[in-house]
Amino acid sequence: MEISFTVNGTSQSVEVADENTPLLWVIRDVLDLKGTKFGCGKAACGACTLLVDGEAVRSCSYPVKFAIGKKITTIEGLGTQDNPHPVQQAWIDEVVPQCGYCQPGFMMATAALLNKVPNPTDDDIDENIINICRCGTYYRMRKAIHKAAKLRAESEMNISEKV
């Protein structure tokens, strides 16, 4: 079965034997985008979080057939090295990762949160950022999320001033 969708702004078509193959494995093994991680395989830890049409999705539990015609964003498409996304910049500034394995999932979940709640409170963060980090980087992540919100707001202000 051929599945077509857009990944990080590029149209992609992949052939899959099983339409219920988790999107995660198509992203990692077929499209070779290794930033999205496999953690638990039960939609519990959030390491595999990516965006489908702007919504955070646990890709280990998302059949690829549901992605047909949709826009997928992975950590590789969030920003670039020269122009990082506010979430990526905040993560760098706050030196959030320890081992780093779970961080792409947290960053994608945070990007989704800021799209919905541009200036999240601690309660908003507690409710929406529920991934699991075995290194316990939660405190630094919280700081980074608040910083990302600030960077994002500044970035939007700069854009509107230029326009």
Binding site: N20, A43, A44, E55, V57, L113, E127, I130
Partner: protein, 203 residues
């Protein structure tokens, strides 16, 4: 002459009153005339079957009274602090569809069905008696302003309701427990109970 007439009428009234009192019906002798006994038994059986399903964890887990969805056959609180949110589907960026899709996922064991969500808070059943559940079910102020016909349709045709009989496997690959009444029997019971007036037996 006048006095004699009055005495006579008084005497007749007294005798009549005494006769009436002697044959006065008591509460236990009342008979419900608008529902034959066979129909009443049928209605009570249907009610029992319907309630066996509504109080089963496949239904009850998404009808909480504390805004926290429940999971599993042991009805534990949903992991990761998930809760009702503003529209019964969780929070802004992390909600039901972050993990639950429109069908079960046998690879991950995550259940799914169309419009996966909690029942509205007004339809919280957790911890209620069967009678209290029936009252919430029938009360338009708590049931989403549904008529009896609309309730029958919702309970016998809604894909999320009927998911209870195709709940898939859990994270360990074990099949989830089914409600104690088959889907066909449940549908018949719901229709029968409403056709017989949706009488709550204990009332």
């Amino acid at each position: 002459m006048k006095l004699k007439t009055i005495y006579t009428l008084l005497a007749i009234s007294t005798v009549g009153l005494m006769l009436a009192l002697g044959k006065s019906p008591n509460v236990s002798s009342y008979v419900v005339l608008n529902m034959p006994e066979s129909k009443m038994i049928e209605s009570e059986e249907a009610y029992g079957q319907m309630m066996d399903v509504l109080t089963h964890q496949r239904c009850m887990n998404c009808h909480p009274n504390d805004n926290i969805p429940k999971q599993g056959d042991d009805r534990h609180a949903h992991y990761f602090g998930l809760a009702r949110g503003k529209d019964d589907t969780g929070f802004e960026a992390t909600n039901c569809t972050t993990c639950h899709q429109s069908e079960n996922n046998d690879y991950s064991g995550v259940p799914g069905a169309p419009h996966w969500s909690l029942a509205p808070a007004s339809m919280g059943w957790e911890g209620l008696t069967r009678t209290e559940i029936a009252e919430r079910l029938l009360d338009k102020s708590t049931n989403g302003n549904r008529s009896h016909e609309e309730l029958v349709e919702h309970m016998t045709e809604d894909e999320l309701v009927l998911w209870a009989w195709t709940p898939g496997v859990d994270a360990n690959g074990e099949p989830r427990e089914l409600p104690p009444v088959s889907k066909d029997k449940f549908k018949k019971a719901v229709k029968s109970w409403f056709e017989n007036g949706a009488v709550v037996p204990t009332k």
